[in-house]
């Protein structure tokens, strides 16, 4: 009857109702987000981010030859100030380079790889003198070996998150894989993201 329809709440759009009433499998968008986040973590140089350390300027200090690797001592009169720059002491006789103003400006720039790639592709779009040669950034973007280019790609393999064997089954609550019932019970006891996270 039509009244019943208004009483029963509608499930949120991203849940996919399966045969098992009340339970659901993770939908594609969540899985895709998880995959991308995991891939980004795998490509990082460090796991924990230390933004303070990353943004500290590096100064080449020629005079502090005895203090290799140690942060400079703050004067006793000043309060304990935070380290403001990394002091690298160089060779005993001094820098082998000119330490020009342009170099210091270049070193102080905070560019990321994405900025440089964007500026290279931007430049190429506007330059008209290199029509016969293709630029490195063009080659960089197009030289990725993808499965679509003429090779047959098998579907992705999954591994049990507990022991590493074939991950044939998926946990209905959190979407992690397991291979057998013993691994499943370990998973549910200790690692299921739904209960632990």
């Amino acid at each position: 009857m039509s009244d019943d329809k208004n009483l029963v709440p509608k499930a949120p759009a991203r849940r996919v109702q399966s045969r098992y009433a009340g339970k659901y499998y993770w939908d594609k968008t969540t899985l895709e987000q998880r995959r991308r986040a995991r891939l980004q973590m795998l490509e990082r140089e460090n796991y924990t981010m230390l933004p303070d350390f990353e943004s500290m300027p590096i100064a080449s200090d020629v005079s502090n030859t005895k203090r290799q690797g140690r942060p400079p001592r703050t004067p006793s009169s000043a309060p304990k100030a935070r380290l403001s720059k990394i002091v690298i002491s160089t060779a005993d006789e001094g820098l082998k380079r000119a330490n020009r103003k342009e170099t210091r400006a270049l070193a102080a720039q905070k560019v990321s790889f994405a900025d440089i790639l964007a500026s290279e592709t931007g430049c190429e779009a506007t330059s008209h003198s290199d029509k016969d040669k293709t630029s490195p950034s063009y080659y960089y973007l197009t030289c990725i070996a993808t499965p679509q280019q003429g090779s047959i790609s098998a579907p992705a393999r999954h591994f049990c998150s507990i022991c590493g064997y074939k991950g044939l089954y998926t946990c209905v609550d959190c979407g992690m894989r397991y291979c057998s019932l013993p691994c499943k019970s370990t998973h549910v006891d200790t690692r299921c993201l739904k209960h632990v996270a």
Partner: protein, 409 residues
């Protein structure tokens, strides 16, 4: 006037003068220890005993030299009297760059070499080019120096990623180069992630996990067979216990059973990392990046695609001369597995894969450059004509120098 060969990699710098046998390997990062919060540039990290939780500040991002402040600090350390003792005004420099280096970075590199450091001359090329120049010895060598073959595929399995670069008559076939983003760094992070989930939390221990990867991991010839063995009764053959370091006695830890004084070194409080299927499942990411969720082809498919993108008449020769260089080429079993996989993709051709044995694969670019400078064959004296002196740099300007090095590729 001496020549300094500096292979500027994203993990280590391999540097040395052309008249010595082996280059020095200097980590190309600035490292900070966790507990004592000290900062070490380049190879100074060896002086520290506290290697846990090292934080790396690398000049490279995705394989490209982006952060000059860190790179200048490392180069200053490398050229200092403690390490190389170089006088730039009286030195010729051979420098490597990534394949497809960006113009902006090339300009900065040339500027640093000539105007900042003041080197007497420069020859800048990609590391695969130098490896290709010296490849004759690995592919055909019987102890005497051989010229590089006419068609050659260089597979550089490095820290940031893998490049497959075909060379024809010494020149790179740019349109046939293929790249995949699985490299040493991703393998180490994959191992860290796996081990942290199953045993101990090692997400911050890049240095230790790198050592574990180098000592315990190998490439399997038959993945499913080894997976069954690791799961079943034959575990003992594949399982390995890695003793994690307590920094009083060892810096990187060791594999139980491989150190001669193992029983003495084993204390009650040691932490053991039991590795079985991780040993070969982690390097599988090279062949199946979909294992880590990456939508790219495996290294065997990348090699195949690169060869197929070359002229049809060159393809059989390309397949027969595949050279694997780079740090991850040290993985045992990589050569045989790659040969078998590429052969399966190209059944009609004869596939031959070579990994350098006379030196470590990560030194191939350096060794290739050194061999060229010392060889008597006519091809190498050509290196002299590609060198650019400081006077010429000032005369012609940076853009024409970049175009000049482009022709050397």
């Amino acid at each position: 006037m001496r020549t300094l060969i500096l292979d500027n990699g994203s993990f280590t710098i391999k540097a040395g003068y052309s008249d010595i046998q082996q280059p020095l390997e200097i980590p190309n990062t600035i490292a900070r220890t966790k507990r004592t919060k000290r900062v070490y540039v380049g190879d100074l990290i060896d002086k520290s005993n506290d290697l846990s939780g090292l934080y790396y500040r690398s000049p490279f991002e995705r394989g490209y030299l982006v952060h000059w402040d860190a790179e200048l600090a490392v180069w200053d350390r490398a050229l200092s009297d403690d390490v190389l003792g170089c006088q730039p005004e009286e030195t010729n420099l051979l420098l490597t760059e990534p394949v497809f280096n960006f113009r902006r970075i090339q300009r900065s590199m040339d500027e640093m070499v000539f105007e900042e450091y003041g080197f007497s001359s420069l020859l800048r090329a990609s590391s695969t080019k130098f490896a290709a120049l010296g490849s004759g010895h690995t592919l055909y060598g019987n102890g005497k120096e051989e010229e590089a073959p006419e068609c050659l595929v260089v597979v550089d399995v490095g820290h940031s990623g893998t490049y497959v670069a075909p060379y024809h008559r010494g020149r790179m076939v740019a349109s046939a180069v293929r790249r995949m983003d699985v490299g040493g760094r991703l393998l180490t992070n994959y191992l860290k992630e796996t081990v942290s989930f199953r045993y101990w939390d090692m997400m911050d221990e890049t240095f230790i996990m790198n050592a574990v990867k180098e000592r315990c991991c190998f490439v399997t010839q038959d993945f499913y067979r080894d997976l069954e063995t690791a799961h079943g009764k034959g575990r003992g053959r594949l399982a390995v216990d890695y003793v994690l370091p307590d920094f009083a006695h060892s810096k990187t830890g060791f594999v139980r059973g491989q150190e001669p004084r193992t029983e003495e070194l084993m204390r009650d409080s040691v932490q053991i990392l039991p590795l079985c299927n991780e040993r070969f499942a982690v390097p599988e990411a090279l062949f199946h990046p979909s294992d880590v969720g990456m939508d790219q082809s495996g290294i065997h498919q990348a090699v195949f695609q690169a060869v197929m993108a070359c002229d049809q008449r060159l393809q059989p020769a390309m397949l027969a001369n595949i050279l694997v260089v780079g740090g991850s080429a040290n993985l045992p079993g990589l050569r045989d597995r790659l040969a078998a996989e590429v052969q399966a993709l190209a059944p009609a051709g004869t596939v031959r894969v070579a990994v350098p044995e006379e030196h470590k694969p990560e030194l191939s670019a350096w060794m290739g450059a050194q061999q060229q400078l010392h060889s008597a064959s006519p091809a190498c004296t050509a290196l002299d004509q590609w060198r650019v002196t400081r006077e010429k740099y000032h005369e012609l300007g940076p853009d024409r120098i970049i175009a000049h090095f482009d022709r050397f590729k």
